[in-house]
C-alpha cells in the first residue's frame, strides 16, 4: 500500500493525490442494531472510490456518515488532515462535500436551471438585504454563479431542458440534473448514492461517461455507492466491500474480485 501522503499515477495517466478523507473505526448504531461495525478506510484526492455490498450492508449509512447526516457513536472522521467534529449537513456542504440521493431529491416544481443554481447557495455571500435589492454586488454574484451553472449544464449536455420543470423529466434525466446540482457546488468530494439505480443500459453508459469525465475534467474526488458490479469494476480506482455492516474487502477492483469473502457475500455460501 502506498503511503498516505504519496501521489501516484494510474495506468490511464491520472494523478491520484494523498489521502483527503479518512474513516477511523467508525461504528454506527440505531438502537440495538449495528449498521456499521468498526470500519476504517480512506479516500485519496482525485480518485473514484466505490462502496459496494449486498442489500442492507450499510452502504448508505456509511455515505450518510461521510456527508454528516449521521453522527457515528464511535470512531473519527478525518478530513484534510484534521479531525472533523460532529457537524450539521450544511456545514459539511460548506466544507466542499456535495452529494446526490438514491431516490432523487430535486425541487420538482422548479426548472432545471433553478435546481442547478441551488447548488451554488453555499457560494453566495451577499446578505438578504442586497439580494432583495439585486443591485451591484448581489447582481454580479448572481451572474458569476449563473456562469458556473451554465458551464455544468453544458458539460452534462442538458441545455435542451434548461427551462423545463424537473417534474416533467424522465427518471434518467432527473439523475443527471441531480448530478449537475451537486457539481454546481464545485465540491472537493462528490458523494453519489446509487447513481445508476433503475437505469437502462444506455443510461448507465451515459452516466458512467459523465462520472469519468467529471473526475477527469474537474479532478473531483468521487465516492460512490453502486449495486451494478460491472459498472463499479469499470469505473473505480479502489473499492470498499461491506457486508452486514462489516468491511470484508478493500482494494483495487481486481483484488476485490478475487477476494473469497467477497465472492461468498455476493454469490452466497453453502452452509453444511
Amino acid at each position: 500500500m502506498k503511503d498516505q501522503a504519496d501521489s501516484y499515477q494510474t495506468a490511464d495517466g491520472r494523478t491520484i493525490g494523498p489521502v483527503v478523507m479518512e474513516m477511523r473505526n467508525i461504528t454506527l448504531r440505531f438502537g440495538g442494531v449495528e449498521a456499521i461495525k468498526d470500519i476504517s478506510f480512506d479516500i485519496r484526492e482525485g480518485e473514484i472510490r466505490a462502496i459496494i455490498g449486498p442489500n442492507g450492508a450499510g452502504k448508505s449509512s456509511m455515505l450518510n456518515v461521510i456527508s454528516g447526516f449521521y453522527v457515528p457513536q464511535e470512531g473519527e472522521v478525518w478530513y484534510k488532515g484534521a479531525r472533523r467534529p460532529p457537524m450539521k449537513p450544511f456545514e459539511v456542504a460548506e466544507q466542499g462535500i456535495a452529494r446526490t440521493f438514491q431516490n432523487i431529491a430535486l425541487f420538482e416544481g422548479m426548472s432545471v436551471l433553478d435546481n442547478v443554481m441551488t447548488g451554488r447557495l453555499t457560494h453566495m455571500k451577499t446578505g438578504l438585504f442586497s439580494q432583495s435589492l439585486w443591485k451591484g454586488k448581489a447582481e454580479r454574484e448572481e451572474v458569476a454563479n449563473r456562469e458556473v451553472a451554465e458551464k455544468i449544464i453544458d458539460f452534462l449536455e442538458i441545455q435542451a431542458i434548461r427551462k423545463t420543470p424537473v417534474a416533467r423529466l424522465p427518471y434518467g434525466l432527473k439523475k443527471r440534473v441531480e448530478l449537475a446540482r451537486a457539481l454546481a457546488a464545485e465540491p472537493t468530494i462528490l458523494l453519489l448514492d446509487e447513481p445508476m439505480a433503475g437505469m437502462n443500459v444506455e443510461e448507465k453508459e451515459d452516466m458512467s461517461r459523465f462520472i469519468l469525465d467529471v473526475n477527469d475534467e474537474f479532478g473531483t474526488t468521487i465516492a460512490l455507492i453502486e449495486h451494478d458490479m460491472g459498472v463499479v469494476m469499470d469505473l473505480s480506482d479502489r473499492v470498499v466491500v461491506m457486508d452486514y455492516g462489516r468491511k470484508i474487502g478493500d482494494g483495487t477492483p481486481q483484488d476485490v474480485r478475487n477476494n473469497q469473502e467477497v465472492i461468498d457475500a455476493y454469490l452466497g455460501v453453502a452452509h453444511d
Binding site: 490511464d12 495517466g13 491520472r14 436551471l113 449563473r146 456562469e147 451554465e150 458551464k151 449544464i153 453544458d154 458539460f155 449536455e157 441545455q159 435542451a160 434548461r162 469525465d213 477527469d216 475534467e217
Partner: protein
C-alpha cells in the same frame, strides 16, 4: 452567359470577408448560443479570428494546395476554419459529422487531407481509428477540449492555441498570408464537397470561387436578401446548401449566421432567433406540422374549435393573400383576426414569425404540408438544385408558388430536357470537376458545359415551371412497356403523416409492390389515443388496424395515380409494412436520407420475393447496426397485403 457578372468585386471568399470587415465592420456576422447566452462576432472580429487561425495553421505548416477536412456540428469556429483554409491557399473539405470512421477514411484519403479541424473528442477518435489509412494526414485541430486532456498532443492542437500561435507569430507569416490571398482568383478552388453517394462511392465536387460568388450573388438578388437578414445554420456543414447559405450568401450580402447551442435545442434557438431567411428539408416541416396537430388533439375544445375554424379560413384565402391576389374585404378582416388569435402565436411558437423567404428542397413536399405553412402567411417556396450546380438550378419566384413544381430557372441558368426526359442545365454555378475522377466528370458534364442532373422531368408549357418526376435512372419500364416512376408513387404515399418511408418495386415486372415504414410518432400517438397497447416498434407495425390504415392510404394513392395517363401502371398491388426503420447506419439510406434501392433490394430479397409469389406472410431475419457500431439481428414475420387497384379512367380496357 456573362463571363463575369462581378468583374470588379471581390474574387474570392477571403476577399469578401475583408470587404465585409470594412463595409459592415460593426454588424454581427456570426452568432452562437453558448452557456445559455447568444455570443456574437462582428464582421471585423470575424476577420481577426479567421486571420489568427490562418496564421496559426501556417505556423503549423499548412501549404498552398493542401486539403483541410472540417468535421463537426454547425459552429462559427468551423465556418471560420473553412475560410481560414482558403486564405492559406488550401482547400476546405467539410465532412458529414455523423459519418462513420470508414466513410471518413475514404473521403480523407481520397483528397489526401493533411489537416483536419474537428469539433470534439468523437471526431478525434474516429480519425485516430483510421489514421493508418491516411498517409498524408498530419495535424488535427480540435474545438472542444473535453475528454482530450490525456491524448497525446503530438499531432493534436486546441483551436484556441492555434489562434494564439497565429497571433504571436503574426509578423513572421502575415506577408506570406497576404501574398497567398492575393493569388486567389475566380478560378481558384473555394471548397470541395463530397456528394452523399446515393450510388457508389462519394465524389468530390470541386467548386471555384466563381461558382460560389456568382451563385451567391444571383440567388441573393433573386430573393432580395439584405445584410439585416438572419439565418439559423443547423443543416450538415458538408451539404452544399449550408455552405452557400452560411458562407456564400452570408458573405455576399453580409447577413448574420446563427448557430444553435446543440442539436437538441434547435427548436428553442429557432424561436429565439426568429430567422428571416430559412431553409429546411420537407421532413422538418412535416415533423413540425405533425407536432402541432398532435398537440392540438390534446387542446381544450374551445381552442381546438378556434384553431379549426381559423385554419379552414386560412386555407381558403391565406395563399391568395400571400401571393397578392384579389381577396374580399370581409375575408381579409377575418384573416387579420385569425392572425391575431391563431396564426401569429402559432408562427411564433414555430419560430417563423419573421420568415421573409423560406425554402424547402431535396425531396417533394406534400401539398397539404406546403399549403399549411403558406396559408399561415409564411413565404415558403421550393427550389431545385444540386451540389454540381452550387445549389441553384430553379426556384419559385414570389407570387408563383405551387407545391408540384420546383420553379423557373434561376438567373443565369439554362435548362434543356433530353429525349429520355432527363434534365440538363448550364450556369455560372456549374462545378469545375469531380476531384481525381475525370471519367465521372466527363459523364456528367459535356464539353459545352451542360450538366446531367440525373433527374427526369418536364417544363410546363403554360407557366415555364419545371416539374421533376423521379431520378432518371430509377425511371424504368414495366413488363407491359408503361412508365415506371417509383419516387412519384413513394412521394404520394409519404405525404400521409402515418408513413415515414416507402420503397416501390416494379421495374420490368407486371405490377408494382411496396415496402412501407410507419412513422412512430404519428402512429404511436394514434395508438395511445385509441388505447392500443404495443411493446415495440415491430409489434406496432403488425397491428391489424395499422395495416388497415396503411392499406387505405395505399388505395387512396392508387386511385389518384389511376387518373394519370402516363403513370397509371404504377399502382401498388401488394405491400408489406417493414419491421424496422430504414436507416443510414445500415446503409439503407444515404446520410441525407435518400433511399438506396440497390442495397434494399439485395438485403430484403426474401421479402420482395414474397411480394411477387402470392404468399400471405413472410418470415425474415435482418441484420441491424447499432449507433455504436455493434451488430445484431431481428427476426420477424411480416403480413403481405393486397391493395385495391383502379382501372385507368382513360382506357377502359383493363380488368
Amino acid at each position: 452567359m456573362a463571363k463575369s457578372l462581378n468583374a470588379d468585386g471581390p474574387q474570392s471568399v477571403p476577399a469578401l470577408l475583408h470587404r465585409n470587415a470594412t463595409q459592415f465592420a460593426g454588424k454581427p456576422a456570426y452568432r452562437e448560443k453558448e452557456y445559455g447566452i447568444w455570443q456574437s462576432w462582428t464582421w471585423s472580429q470575424t476577420r481577426d479570428e479567421v486571420e489568427a487561425l490562418a496564421l496559426g495553421m501556417m505556423e503549423l505548416g499548412l501549404r498552398e494546395g493542401d486539403f483541410v477536412a472540417v468535421i463537426g456540428r454547425n459552429r462559427p469556429y468551423l465556418y471560420w476554419a473553412m475560410i481560414a483554409a482558403e486564405m492559406c491557399g488550401a482547400v476546405p473539405v467539410p465532412l458529414y459529422q455523423d459519418a462513420n470512421a470508414e466513410e471518413m477514411a475514404f473521403v480523407m484519403s481520397h483528397c489526401g487531407a493533411r489537416f483536419a479541424v474537428v469539433g470534439d473528442q468523437e471526431q478525434v477518435d474516429k480519425i485516430f481509428e483510421v489514421q493508418e489509412q491516411l498517409p498524408e494526414f498530419e495535424r488535427m485541430i480540435y474545438l472542444d477540449p473535453r475528454g482530450l486532456r490525456k491524448y497525446d498532443h503530438a499531432v493534436l492542437d486546441a483551436y484556441r492555441d492555434v489562434q494564439e500561435m497565429g497571433r504571436n507569430n503574426r509578423d513572421k507569416h502575415i506577408a506570406e498570408l497576404e501574398a497567398r490571398q492575393a493569388k486567389l482568383n475566380y478560378d481558384s478552388t473555394g471548397v470541395m464537397l463530397y456528394t452523399s453517394g446515393t450510388t457508389g462511392r462519394p465524389k468530390g465536387v470541386v467548386l471555384s470561387n466563381r461558382n460560389i460568388i456568382e451563385t451567391a450573388k444571383s440567388s441573393s438578388e433573386f430573393d432580395n436578401l439584405r445584410s439585416t437578414d438572419e439565418i439559423l445554420a443547423y443543416l450538415p456543414m458538408a451539404w452544399v446548401g449550408d455552405f452557400i447559405f452560411s458562407v456564400g450568401q452570408a458573405l455576399w450580402t453580409g447577413f448574420c449566421t446563427n448557430c444553435p447551442e446543440s442539436a437538441d435545442t434547435m427548436h428553442v434557438d429557432l424561436r429565439e432567433i426568429g430567422p428571416t431567411y430559412y431553409f429546411a428539408p420537407p421532413r422538418v416541416f412535416e415533423t413540425q406540422l405533425t407536432n402541432v396537430m398532435i398537440r392540438m388533439e390534446d387542446a381544450s375544445r374551445f381552442k381546438k374549435w378556434l384553431f379549426d375554424t381559423f385554419m379552414a379560413h386560412a386555407r381558403k384565402v391565406g395563399p391568395a393573400i400571400l401571393d397578392g391576389k384579389q381577396v374580399g374585404t370581409m375575408d381579409r378582416i377575418k384573416y387579420q383576426l385569425g392572425e391575431l388569435m391563431v396564426y401569429g402565436p402559432l408562427k411564433n411558437t414555430l419560430g417563423f414569425s419573421r420568415v421573409r423567404v423560406g425554402y424547402t428542397a431535396g425531396e417533394a413536399i406534400g401539398p397539404e404540408i406546403f399549403d399549411f405553412y403558406r396559408s399561415l402567411g409564411i413565404n415558403l417556396k421550393q427550389l431545385y438544385g444540386q451540389t454540381e450546380a452550387t445549389v441553384f438550378i430553379t426556384a419559385q419566384p414570389d407570387g408563383q408558388v405551387r407545391s408540384d413544381t420546383v420553379g423557373v430557372t434561376c438567373p443565369g441558368v439554362e435548362l434543356r430536357i433530353a429525349e429520355n426526359g432527363e434534365v440538363f442545365y448550364r450556369s455560372p454555378g456549374v462545378f469545375v470537376e469531380y476531384y481525381k475522377n475525370p471519367e465521372s466528370t466527363a459523364e456528367t458534364k459535356d464539353a459545352d458545359g451542360w450538366v446531367a442532373t440525373g433527374d427526369a422531368g418536364f417544363i410546363e408549357e403554360s407557366t415555364g415551371h419545371l416539374r421533376i418526376i423521379d431520378r432518371a435512372k430509377d425511371v424504368g419500364k414495366m413488363a407491359d412497356g408503361s412508365l415506371f416512376a417509383p419516387k412519384y408513387v413513394e412521394n404520394k404515399l409519404k405525404f400521409f403523416p402515418n408513413i415515414l418511408e416507402v420503397v416501390v418495386f416494379g421495374n420490368g415486372r407486371s405490377e408494382c409492390t411496396a415496402f412501407v415504414n410507419i412513422d412512430l410518432t404519428a402512429v404511436g400517438n394514434w395508438a395511445e389515443r385509441n388505447n392500443i397497447g404495443y411493446a415495440s416498434y415491430q409489434e406496432l407495425t403488425r397491428h391489424p388496424q395499422v395495416m388497415d390504415t396503411i392499406q387505405s392510404h395505399v388505395e387512396e394513392v392508387n386511385a389518384s395515380i389511376a387518373e394519370d395517363e402516363m403513370l397509371s401502371g404504377c399502382q401498388v398491388h401488394r405491400f408489406v409494412v417493414l419491421h424496422k426503420e430504414l436507416d443510414a447506419d445500415d446503409g439503407e439510406l444515404t446520410r441525407t436520407r435518400k433511399v438506396r434501392r440497390k442495397v434494399i433490394s439485395e438485403k430484403y430479397a426474401d421479402i420482395i420475393a414474397a411480394l411477387y409469389d402470392g404468399s400471405k406472410s413472410v418470415s425474415t431475419e435482418t441484420e441491424v447496426t447499432y449507433e455504436d457500431g455493434r451488430k445484431g439481428s431481428i427476426k420477424a414475420t411480416l403480413d403481405v397485403r393486397d391493395a385495391k387497384v383502379f382501372a385507368d379512367t382513360r382506357k377502359m380496357a383493363a380488368q
